[in-house]
Structures are given as structure tokens and as C-alpha cells.
Symmetry: D2
Subunit: 310 residues, 4 copies
């Protein structure tokens, strides 16, 4: 599989600026590409369920400190008596963005120097009380759509994507073609890059450093994947590895630009190895995907347990 030419800076900018979906569903739209998931598409997704096998795409709630978990989630317990019995209750606390927690990004999560989704100004929309535009409660009815697995390690015949060789848009096209998949508008694409295998091969080396200083470097999806997402009217990107870093272009965001430019939902840090195994066993590439975010008014996303049902 020969490498192909990288897009130019101008082409990358055009992907983000010229092909954006602002206004496509109205200038005040806060749903974005999830508009493509019509009730009919939900019903079609449900019809994909055959054996009823369900696979969780969530990593465990990241409580353990470590190089991949700079801000560990909190889990604190209480027990209380109730008459002659009792109960246990617990507190969950999480700053869920970053690289440790499986979570959904809402449309308000990222922006470039121009604007947030649909041209809004983050200085106005991001407040101490939460986001006032593009926040996660607008997706309260959940994401129920067709999920399609694109298994990069299987396609490459390697255990995982590496820093040296990011996933490109053309490679995703190759996978779709090779697997005979027909993508439809509103589909969720699950790009498996082999993060567990990468970590196993890299010991204590963290996958990324989301909050610290210094240059960031991590294997993942090249900015060229934006074109793939846009061409196929993908509504949701579920991925285990995130944007390849450094971006390599003078833009603040690589694939994360899909949020503010296209209105595409991102499910970061999904656990896709079990999905890869299940899909192989089921001999299928598609399934019903369900993501049910917490209904946090003003929230920039939500920790989530995405389910793939075959």
C-alpha cells in the first residue's frame, strides 16, 4: 500500500473552511450532523440487530492515576443505615475530556480562530455556568444509528497504528472499498487503531499528554480524515486513537475540527478492541450503535458507555 501525497496547507484549510456545514440545518441549529440520523435511520439501525450480542465500547471509568491519566476520576463511597438494613452510595467526579475517559464531545467543545459550530463566538457562548450553544443536552434523545467498523490494524496486518504512520482519509476509503461497505449519511464510523496493542508495545510511555506543557505527539488519525468524514456525511466518529499529533499544519485542530466545522459528534477514547473481535466473530462490519449522553444543561459533552449491538 503506497503512501499518497499529503494535502497542502491550503487544502487542509479548505477542508475546514470551505466544506463546513454551517447553516446547513439552519443558522441556529445545535444538533449538527446528528440531523442526518432521522427516525427512519434509527429504525433502520435497529433492524441491523440480529444475534442480539451487545458490546460495550467504554473503557473503565479512569480512577487510577498514571501517565495516561493526569486528572484521575473520583469514586468515593458511603454506606448508610436504613432501618435494620442499609445501603451503599457513591460519588463520581470526572473532568472527562482528555485521553483517559470514553466520552462524547458536544459541538461546543472546540473552535478555531474563527468560530464555534455554526459561526458562534466562544467568548459569548462559553460561560462559567456552561455553554449556551451546542451543548450536550441538545442530544438528549441519544445517538441511535448504524455503526460501521473500520479496522485499521486488520487492514494493515499489524497490531496497531504507529506514530510514524497515521491513518489517512484515503486509507479509510481503501478499507471501505476492500470490505465492500456502503456508507450512508448519518452513519457512525468506528475507526479502530489498536490503542491497547500500541500501549502494550510502548510500556510506560503515555499515549498523549492533553494537559501538560511541551510539544504533543501521539499516533492517530491524520487531518486528511476530515475529507472522508465530510464526503460520506458521517454523523459520528467513534475512535480509540485520536488526532495524530503534531498536526503538521498551522491549524489548531486536526480531526477535532469536525466538531465545529461539520457538526460531527466525536466519541473519544472508545474501547474498540472488543468490537474488532466481535465483528470478526459475527462476520459483520455494521451494527446498531447507541450512545446515551448524560443530560447536562450547558455541558460540553458526557462520559458515556457506547453500545454496539449485532
Amino acid at each position: 500500500m503506497p503512501e499518497r501525497p499529503l494535502p497542502t496547507e491550503k487544502e487542509v484549510r479548505a477542508l475546514i473552511r470551505d466544506r463546513r456545514n454551517w447553516g446547513r440545518w439552519g443558522k441556529d441549529d445545535q444538533i449538527g450532523a446528528l440531523n442526518l440520523i432521522t427516525p427512519a435511520r434509527r429504525a433502520a439501525a435497529a433492524r441491523l440487530v440480529r444475534t442480539g450480542r451487545s458490546v460495550s465500547l467504554s473503557r473503565p471509568f479512569p480512577k487510577e492515576p498514571g501517565p495516561n491519566n493526569a486528572l484521575p476520576a473520583q469514586h468515593y463511597m458511603r454506606t448508610l443505615p436504613r432501618g435494620t438494613g442499609g445501603f451503599a452510595a457513591d460519588y463520581y467526579g470526572i473532568f472527562y475530556h482528555g485521553i483517559a475517559s470514553t466520552h462524547l464531545d458536544a459541538l461546543c467543545h472546540t473552535w478555531d480562530d474563527e468560530a464555534m459550530w455554526n459561526g458562534r463566538d466562544p467568548k459569548k457562548e462559553i460561560t462559567f455556568d456552561g455553554a449556551t450553544f451546542g451543548s450536550v443536552e441538545h442530544w438528549a434523545e441519544g445517538i441511535i444509528t448504524r455503526g460501521v467498523l473500520l479496522d485499521v490494524p486488520r487492514h494493515r496486518g499489524v497490531p496497531s497504528v504507529t506514530l510514524e504512520r497515521p491513518v489517512h482519509g484515503w486509507e479509510l476509503e481503501d478499507i471501505v472499498r476492500a470490505r465492500g461497505i456502503t456508507l450512508e449519511p448519518g452513519d457512525a464510523v468506528c475507526v479502530y487503531s489498536g490503542r491497547e496493542a500500541w500501549q502494550a508495545a510502548n510500556g510506560d510511555r503515555p499515549y498523549g499528554r492533553p494537559f501538560g506543557p511541551g510539544p504533543m505527539e501521539r499516533p492517530g488519525l491524520h487531518v486528511s480524515c476530515l475529507e472522508f468524514l465530510r464526503d460520506h456525511d458521517v454523523s459520528v466518529l467513534v475512535w480509540d486513537m485520536l488526532d495524530h499529533l503534531p498536526v503538521g499544519y498551522d491549524v489548531p485542530w486536526a480531526v477535532h475540527a469536525a466538531l465545529f466545522a461539520y457538526g460531527v459528534a466525536l466519541v473519544d477514547n472508545a474501547l474498540l478492541e472488543p468490537l474488532s473481535r466481535a465483528a470478526a466473530e459475527e462476520q459483520r462490519d455494521d451494527f446498531m450503535l447507541v450512545v446515551a449522553p448524560l443530560v447536562v444543561v450547558g455541558g460540553t459533552g458526557s462520559p458515556a458507555n457506547p453500545l454496539a449491538v449485532f
Copy 2:
């Protein structure tokens, strides 16, 4: 609709002790009545989806302090620059049990003077690091099953259940019969009691006081509903009002005994008014229910956004 005789203390104890499901799925089982949701039942649930209408059964993440929210959830914002752009991220913190948050109870959540689910000892299983038996990660693959709405206000022709007239097991039987519903093992039952209407009629009076001292009093489901749950092999109870209090019997838990006695999952404080409306409009009583808990190892449950899909 005449009232019927209340069960005796002995009958209530028998419901909790004699009919319990301990050992039914093995003495080390941590799945409980969710074992009844086989892959085939999941597939059957998916086949219930026709129009693709999705309804969120979640109240908003309870951030606002108030008499119904003694321990408000936390939502704190950050913004950070990223090159010429930026991003917003936020912290969610919640002590989710109680009456404010829509959440799933795991099997380890309650116990009586005898034991937790499957006869385990809470003194051993509930630790500072989390529960070591019956915790929520054992339900990581989610709950996907047939949901059935039992709409008590519609049945009664009133806006809501009241403190004076709790929901009884025989009334749920009446509703099932009147609606011509056939319950099957593994079904999720959504008992709508009209909590919003009750609150609207009761102003500042809190629905309940889960953490404070003093006698507790609230409208809801009578302990006699346990029999209904057990007779029909219900796997999940989704409810907006919870156990009627005071219990009226010398047992620590009323319907919440379904957790440790039967292994039934509870989805507390669901928002069922929109479901009631949707079901009326769709002219259906059943739908696909999806609950996807956060995968918290050792967790006693999870805040959740349950979805009903018609």
C-alpha cells in the same frame, strides 16, 4: 376501583425472603435478573422499533440546589487555548443516589439485616474502594430489552399518584390486563406515577428527603408491587416516583428490596411524562429500552440517560 386488602407483615416478609432469586443463576452471579435479557430478547427488543422515535427518560443533571436536591451535582467549566483556537471542558461531580438524579441502581446498592444480593455480606463487600460484589461494571454491556409503560395516572384518570393512594401490585396487574399487555420474562417495566404533576400541585414541598433526619414520607409504589415484579420475572423497574414511604411494615426497604432479593435493576427518578405522551401518540405500550451505565468498577450504580425507542 375498590381498594384491596393490604398484605400482612408475614406476607411482605415472605415476598422478600421466600421468593428471592438467590442462587437462581449461580451462587456467584452478579448479573441478577438481567440474566433474563438474553441476546435473543435483545434482538426481539430491537424488532419493536418501528417509527424510530426516541425519547429520553432522563431528568436534567441536577445542578440546582433546592428542597428536592440536598446534594446538588457539580458542573464546572474551563476553557483552554489550543493554538489559534481553543476548547471548553468541564467537570461533572455527582452523588447520584437519592431523589434528584435519573440513575441506575446496581445490585450492591441495598441490603436488609440478612444480606445483599445472593446472600453476600455488605460488611465484606462494601469497601472504601468500591463494592466488590454486584457492582455496576457487571452490567457494562448495557440493558437493551423490551420496555413496557404502565401509566398509572391514565389508568386512574387523575394527574398523579398521591401520598394517600399508593400504587399497589394489584393495580399494576389491572393495568396490564386493561391494556392487553402480555409481559415476558426480562421485560423492563416503566411505572409512570405523574411526578411532575404531583410536584406542580405541591409547590415547594419536596418529593422526599433522602438524606436528612426525621420521618420520611412520599407518594409512590407500595411494597406490594414486589409480588408483581417477581411474578412476571421483570428484569428492570423504571420509575419516576419511588417506594411509597413510610413503608408501613417493619422491613428496611419496600420496592427497593427487589435489588437484593430478586436481582432486579432499578432506574430511579426517570422522567416518564414525555414517555407517557409519546406512548399515547404512538398508540403503543412497548418499545425498545436502552440503559447504558458508566463502567465504574466497584460502582453502586450510575447516572444514566435511559432511551425509549418506538
Copy 3:
């Protein structure tokens, strides 16, 4: 003791605007009236210690929910093994402003329509990462100064201040005179209003509602006390009851204006009943006061345990 005429709206505005200390210690000063506590004043405060009796002026960390505690502080425990032994550790979380927690207000905590302390713009200085001006770390070396008790209930011969009869500036002058106290620049004034007695007499009625909607009403210090603070160059106000509400004038803050106008530190919700008793027993009105805030860069204050040493 006859009541005296209330200040006019114009007089109140003049107190806040015309007598403010902006620029008094330089236009970039972030220390405020604590500049008056010179090393020599600290040494003089230490010389006030005779018997060595120490009194905590802190309420307990407010963990319990209730009408006076809309956002309860968090206290969660862990235990962990260490070899053949072990240890216990805990998490403290608190949104400490409001009426429940004894805490210090930093200069950045309040502002009116004009500006923060020293004329700064809150829109620029208050960021998602903390305050960039007038924040609490500028008081890292602590407050060590002469404390003077002004005991209003003792002066009035009643158990507590009431809503009907707020504490006025002229009343504080009366107390100073009656007790033969000579105030000096840099002194901390501890105004005891009998909050415990008020609460005991008012049952479940909350002392105040800092975060909820609706009109606010509470007994405490009238805006006229500002004049007293300014005339005597007080550096710190320690109080158990806070500003009398409603303010009664068209200004956003009553005595809390001392923060942004005069640079005076406030210690809100102090526990002064034990101090009142100790002072009576020691037959003294003054003592060494020590307040040692947590060194939170960008913090708007700090929970604190102020100590009075006789």
C-alpha cells in the same frame, strides 16, 4: 438607645465611592487594608497574648445538607494498606462562599457596576483559571493582628441581633466608647451578633439563601457600618452575621463593599459565641488574631480556622 437617622442613598454611595482606598497603596496593590498590618503591628499583636488561651472562630466544615447549607461540603474517606499497617486519607471539597462555611474573602470576591478593588475590571481579571488580581495568594503570609471583639448582644442586653434591628455604624461606635476601646489602624474587628441564639430562636428558618432565587432577607450589619470600618482604618472584619438584607439602597453590596472599596478583608460566618464567652471570662476585649488562608493561586478566598489567642 434611640435609633438614629438612616444615611441617605447619596451618603451610602459616597461612602462606597468617595472614601474608597483605590491607589492608597499604589495602583497595582493587591494587599489592600492588610498593608496596615505592618510587622510592628504583628509584633504588638503577639504582645497581647498573656494567658495563652486559644479560641477557634471556625464553624465545623459544613458537611450536612440543610436549609442553611444548599451546597454541602464534601468529605470522603479512603483507607489503604501500607505493609502490615495502613492509613486513612480523605478528600475535602467545598464551594466555601455563602453562609455555611467560615471563610476569608479575598479582594477579588465582589465588585459593583464600576469595578473591583483598585479599579480593576472583573471581566478581565476573573478567568476560568482563577482571579488574576486581588486573589488570596497575595495574603499567603497570613493575617496576624490585634483582634477586638464588639459584642452587640451584650451591649444590647439581648440574645441576638434581629431582622428588625440591624447593627449600625453608630452602634459599633457606641460599643467602642462604652468599652473604652481605642481602635488602631490595622485592627481586626470581630462583630458578634449572636447568630447561634438567633438560629435557636428561629428553628428551621434559614439564616439566609445565598444561591437561590427570590428576595433575600437576613439579620446582620447595616451598610452604615462601612463608615465605621473606614473611619477606623479597620483591616479585617470578622463577623458571624453578615450584611443585613435587603440592603435598602440601590447598591449591589452593603458591608461586602468593604472588599472592593476599602480593601478590607472579610471573615464570613465566623463562630463568635465562644469568643464572646472567652472574652468575658478573660475580662478583655482584645487578643491576637491569626487567620492563615490556604495558598490558592487565583483563589477568591479560603475556608479558614481563625484563632483568637488571649
Copy 4:
């Protein structure tokens, strides 16, 4: 300065077991060695204040993630309007034990295989609601005593203590003798080991790993310092480096055994470089030390800003 023979295992055990202070102040005592700080000792401490120079011994509230800060403290901001003005308020959250935060350890914090302070059983006293014995609220009136600086780098003529050469009890004796210091019962000893210089010389290498797995290694005070603390009836140990690890003996705790064996308060992770400088400039080794813990009922300690006043 020749090294001296290490104590034997038996001697170390004898230090912890045979010389412990259990029962010394009554079998139910929860104050420990702070009993030695009588009112008279507090008054004497205040008399040490001459110039009134105050030095904070607190590191900044540890918000930044990093190798020395596995569980970063939380600082979240809010702003809210108030009439025509407004205010800023913030949330502080911290799991303060470990190596990042300057904090006080209460007597309940550590135990060995035998017991907690005064022979209590941690299984009974450490609960989900807090500790029921030896917790920090028993020190609510604060620690006000004579502080004495023991400056190890100055004594050694090096920038810092190193892993290869821990601080021994006999070295502390040498320093006391060399400086002509007379220790008195109830004194607080501030042992400066040069942690900042050590960190500057060791780049990204963390000072310690309190919560992670694997062997722990860090420079600091050898278990032999216990003898020094006990011989001089020290009430408080303030230190920047903590126990030298690995301990080198088959005991769970080295100097941290002073908590449960002697009832000595520990102020971990103090910032002592500024104190070292101030003491040199003031040409003094002693000063008034004030530590004012938050009054957390059941708390195992408290974040603190200890003050040294010359």
C-alpha cells in the same frame, strides 16, 4: 562528620513499641503530644515574636498535574451577578495526603499492625463518615507553639539531602548542639532538607510516588529520627522531605510512626526554603509557629498554611 551505626531492627521496633505515649494523657486522649503545648507554652511562643516578620510555610495549593502530583487539587470558578455588580466564587477540592500539598496529619492518619494512636482499632474507628478517634477537630484550637528550625543543608554545607544520605536522629542532635539550641517539651521542630534544591537537581524525577504501585524510594528522614522526637518531647514535626524510603526495616511506617506511637503532629510537605532564608537573615533559630487546621469533624488532617513569625 562520620556516619554512625544504624539502629538494629529490634531497636527500631523498641522505639515504636516500648517508648510509645499511649495512656500518657489518658487512655481516651485524642490530643496526643499537643497536650505538651499548654497555654503557658503558647504565651511563651508569642513572646518570641520580635520583628513581626511572618513567613508562610505552605506550598501553593497543588492544582497542576505532574509526576509529583498524581491527584491534582481542584479549583473551579464561578461568577454570579448581584444587582448591578457581581461576585466570583470558587470550589476547592483536594485529596491532600501524599507529597504535593502542605498539610497536617491528624493522629488517626496512620497505624501499624497493632493499632492506631492510644491503642485504638482502625477497623472500628475509620468509617465511611470519617474517623471517630484522633481526628483533626480535636485540634480545632490550633497549634501555637515555639518553632525551631533544624537546617540540614546548612549544617552539611550542601544544597539538599540526598537519597544516599538520609537525615538521622544523631544528625538532628548534632545540629541542636552546634546551634546551641535548647529544645523544650512541646516545641515544633522544622526539619529543612532542601527539597526545592533536590528537585531542581533531579529534573522530571518525582520526589515520591505515594499512590502508585512498585517500590517507593525517596530522600528524607531516617526512622532513627523517631528517637530524637521522643527524647525531646517534640509535639510537632514540620518537614519538607518526608520519611526516607525504602524504610529499610520491616515496619510499615518510619517517621510517620510518630503519629500513632507518640501522638506527634506532622506537617507534611512544608515549604521550608523561605524559612531557612528568613532565619538566616533574622539570625534566629526559633519563632512562633501557628498551624490552624480546618475544623473537619472526622477528618484525618487538613491542608494548611503554617506561619512562622519572628
